[in-house]
């Protein structure tokens, strides 16, 4: 069965780490892969249908509405004896934690690999949490790849051990693995030809408390056994005796950075270097092995001290004794300083730190979210603006996003704000929550039901751009296209809102700022009326990065007249990247290369100095 993948590779291809893992899933005979998009994991599922088509393999790939649903869907496929995968970003695992924890006890049949991508830094996340810790908490083994090529081969390894022990196995890449590209060998996909066969076993699949103690004992036993697997003893690159009694233990991308740094410092193979490929459970014999051989040990791992805590040795230098910084990414420059201190080497000449400031991201020119936020801010200068996760979090640049917590939280927070002010018998400010279409499907619906039921008075603006824009334009259920670009049964946001019991629902295009402002006022009036409650406005305009939508939209010829006083209102309150101030004339100029001719800024200029004409 495994022999196929051991054959000489057919070819090499440059693949992003996420694509390499997707290819690994197809090669390992996975028949169902589910995910919810989130940086840095989005491209995994995105690449699965293409590799499957290319290899002529039949599988079900889906963008589920959230990670919990994705996990349960993949789990059921595995319960039918077929190989399965679920992928997500690290905070997605928080959402999927309920089925994740229990699946350790109940186990799996067909292999189940759980890919949870961490984001040290963080670059594009709410936390720097370490999924390996979550795996340890759940008593689920976790593999930690150091690069795209290794990530791909660990997919097969994870599925193999998942089947051997009938338990899920986690693969934990980090951003620098997910978004690195490398030349990667391709193998012929395995064809496992397994039927879908769910064997009923209520004692296991419905396990009531009376069964769980025994299942827990079995889980503990499995963890002990996998901790003794020869294959997971850390890989040693031996040194000479230049640093007697010292060694470095590293895993994941920290190992890769350390390897390159040691090479650059002419220290590679001068001291023992261990690569831990399975950080939990740490190999049973490794702890005593280290204790008996070394007096000085450095542990380098992203992002929490998972290996370090299991080693539990006082001779270890790492995060616990602050030899390694407790937060932030372990970049080469950080690791270099740690290595120099650990090996008592003189510090390399400090590199002059950058004097310039990085440019902050902003909503694209022509983005309808900008129009909606501008209207919200202008209508309610004293309003409270809970928001959510997506491109539209950038509304904070426009002063129209006051909170960003986790998926769906904006609606619950809006309700919470209402109850806080109402219970304190204070004057309730206008509360306007914003949420994107995909986020609304993900976690917004239960929050909306709750807000309606508990009679919160708030305005909810659902920013519907017909896509999951931030993560690379995955279709939402309303679009009606599946991950494999086939027709699904569309589910409409307006229907959901009505079914949640909302008494005020209007749809509008926020490009029409005056119209949108009056709609916002009407919604606020409804909230404050005697029988008012939650008012919902669906702000509908497609994402302008969608080529077809952009083509379908008329392009206006924009110009700034002499009436411009350089007051900066359009620059500071609207922040379109196509607008800038000409320092010489002190008037606003429009960058023709960036302007898409949406014409929204016409409504923004207090002097009426921005004009639009229809292109001839």
């Amino acid at each position: 069965m495994e022999s196929e993948s051991l054959k000489e590779p057919k070819q090499h291809r440059i693949l992003m780490g996420n694509e390499a893992m997707a290819r690994g899933l197809v090669e390992a005979g996975v028949t169902l892969a589910a995910s919810y998009p989130g940086t840095p994991a989005s491209e995994i599922l995105q690449a699965v249908p293409g590799f499957a088509r290319e290899a002529g393999v039949a599988l079900h790939a889906e963008w589920s509405v959230n990670e919990k649903v994705a996990y349960e869907t993949a789990l059921a496929n595995s319960m039918c004896g077929r190989r399965s995968a679920v992928s997500m970003k690290q905070v997605g695992l928080n959402v999927a934690s309920d089925p994740f924890m229990r699946s350790a006890y109940l186990g799996v049949k067909g292999g189940l690999v759980v890919i949870s991508a961490d984001d040290p830094g963080p670059h594009s996340s709410q936390t720097e949490q370490d999924s390996r810790f979550f795996a340890m908490f759940a008593k689920i083994p976790v593999l930690d790849p150091s690069g795209p090529r290794e990530a791909k081969s660990m997919v097969g390894q994870a599925l193999r051990f998942s089947e051997k022990y009938e338990m899920p196995v986690m693969l934990r890449p980090t951003t620098r693995v997910c978004h690195a590209r490398q030349n990667v060998p391709l193998f012929r996909p395995q064809s496992l030809e397994r039927l879908a066969m769910f064997e009923k076993n209520p004692g296991r699949w419905c396990a009531t408390p009376q069964y769980l103690r025994e299942l827990h004992r079995l889980l503990n036993q499995k963890i002990e056994e996998i901790a003794a697997e020869e294959e997971f003893f850390p890989i040693l690159t031996p040194g000479d005796d230049a640093f007697p009694g010292a060694c470095i233990i590293a895993s994941g991308v920290a190992l890769a950075h350390t390897w390159d740094l040691l090479e650059e410092m002419d220290l590679l193979r001068r001291l023992d270097l261990y690569q831990v490929t399975m950080p939990y459970p740490l190999h049973r014999d490794f702890i005593s092995h280290i204790k008996s051989r070394y007096q000085k040990v450095l542990v380098l791992e992203e992002t929490y001290p998972v290996i370090e805590l299991q080693l539990a040795l006082d001779l270890v230098q790492g995060r616990r004794n602050k030899a390694v910084p407790g937060e932030g990414e372990l970049t080469p420059e950080v690791i270099r300083r740690v290595l120099e201190r650990f090996l008592d080497l003189p510090a390399a000449a400090a590199v002059t730190l950058p004097a310039g400031e990085a440019t902050r991201p902003t909503l694209c020119a022509g983005c309808a979210h900008r129009a909606a936020f501008y209207a919200i801010r202008e209508t309610f200068p004293e309003g409270l603006f809970p928001s959510d996760i997506g491109c539209y979090t950038l509304g904070l640049n426009l002063g129209a996003v006051d909170t960003c917590h986790c998926m769906g939280a904006g609606i619950s927070q809006a309700a919470g704000f209402y109850h806080a002010y109402a219970a304190a018998a204070a004057k309730v400010p206008s509360i306007v929550a914003t949420i994107g279409d995909s986020t609304f499907f993900h976690a917004g619906v239960p929050a909306l039901i709750n807000a309606v039921f508990h009679q919160a008075r708030l305005v909810l603006v659902i920013l519907d751009n017909s896509t999951t824009a931030m993560t690379g334009h995955q279709p939402t259920p309303e679009v009606g296209l599946t991950a494999a670009a086939q027709r699904g049964q569309p589910v409409h946001i307006a229907d959901l809102v009505r079914a949640c019991g909302v008494g005020f629902l209007k749809e509008a295009d926020p490009y029409d700022i005056p119209g949108f402002v009056s709609l916002l006022k009407e919604a606020d009036g409804y909230c404050r009326s005697e029988n008012g409650g939650v008012a919902v406005i669906i702000a509908r305009h497609p994402c302008m990065l969608d080529r077809e939508a952009r083509k379908a939209q008329s392009v206006l010829e924009m110009c700034v007249t002499e009436d411009c006083t350089g007051c900066r209102h359009c620059l500071d309150e609207f922040e379109c990247p196509a607008l800038s101030l000409d320092e010489a004339t002190y008037q606003v100029v429009i960058d023709g290369a960036r302007c898409i001719g949406c014409g929204v800024c016409v409504h923004v200029c207090p002097m009426g100095a921005i004009k639009a004409e229809t292109k001839g």
Binding site: I14, T39, A256, E357
Partner: protein, 168 residues
């Protein structure tokens, strides 16, 4: 053969395309290659950086002061990312204004070409024409031809040629 290259720009300027073309060129020469990219929120017009490491490396990141070549799609990024470069590394910058670097008005040339988004390939062509990269313009041209989706192929090739021609 070892070469470490940084590509610095703003989200949407096409740093990723340059990165991919360089990686494919390395693979075509049977060289090991690793790249690193910026994804997510910063892609909406924020500062982005890509790194390309050609040769037997294991990690995708370049330490400060170790990059051999710098390609800057935005002049203002010099202040942010120049520290990655070795002191004597050639630096190519998309800028109409000269400075302590090799400048080319890639944006202006791209506009003349009627393809403002192709400034990235003009800059790449210029650096390749200057023989600053691990591979020559001929190989990169072939890679662009092979790896660019059809609807952008002709314009990208034209842009690349324009960059190369600016050297002569």
């Amino acid at each position: 053969m070892k070469q470490q290259i940084i590509v610095s720009g703003l989200g949407g300027q096409g740093a990723l395309t340059i990165t991919r073309m360089l990686a494919e060129a390395a693979a075509a020469l049977d060289l090991e290659v690793l790249t690193s990219e910026t994804h997510g929120m910063a892609q909406r017009g924020g500062t982005v950086i890509s790194m390309i490491k050609v040769g037997p490396f294991r990690g995708p990141l370049i330490p400060p002061g170790r990059a051999d070549v710098g390609l800057f799609l935005a002049l203002k990024n010099l202040a942010v990312h120049r520290f990655y470069l070795k002191a004597d590394a050639p630096v190519f910058v998309n800028s109409p204004v000269p400075g302590d670097f090799q400048n080319i008005d890639a944006q202006g040339l791209a506009r003349q070409l009627g393809a403002a988004v192709a400034a990235n390939l003009i800059l790449l062509g210029y650096a390749a024409g200057k023989q600053a990269l691990f591979c020559g313009p001929e190989l990169l041209e072939q890679v662009i031809r092979d790896k660019t989706p059809e609807r952008f192929r002709e314009v990208n090739l034209k842009a690349f040629h324009l960059g190369v021609a600016e050297v002569r």
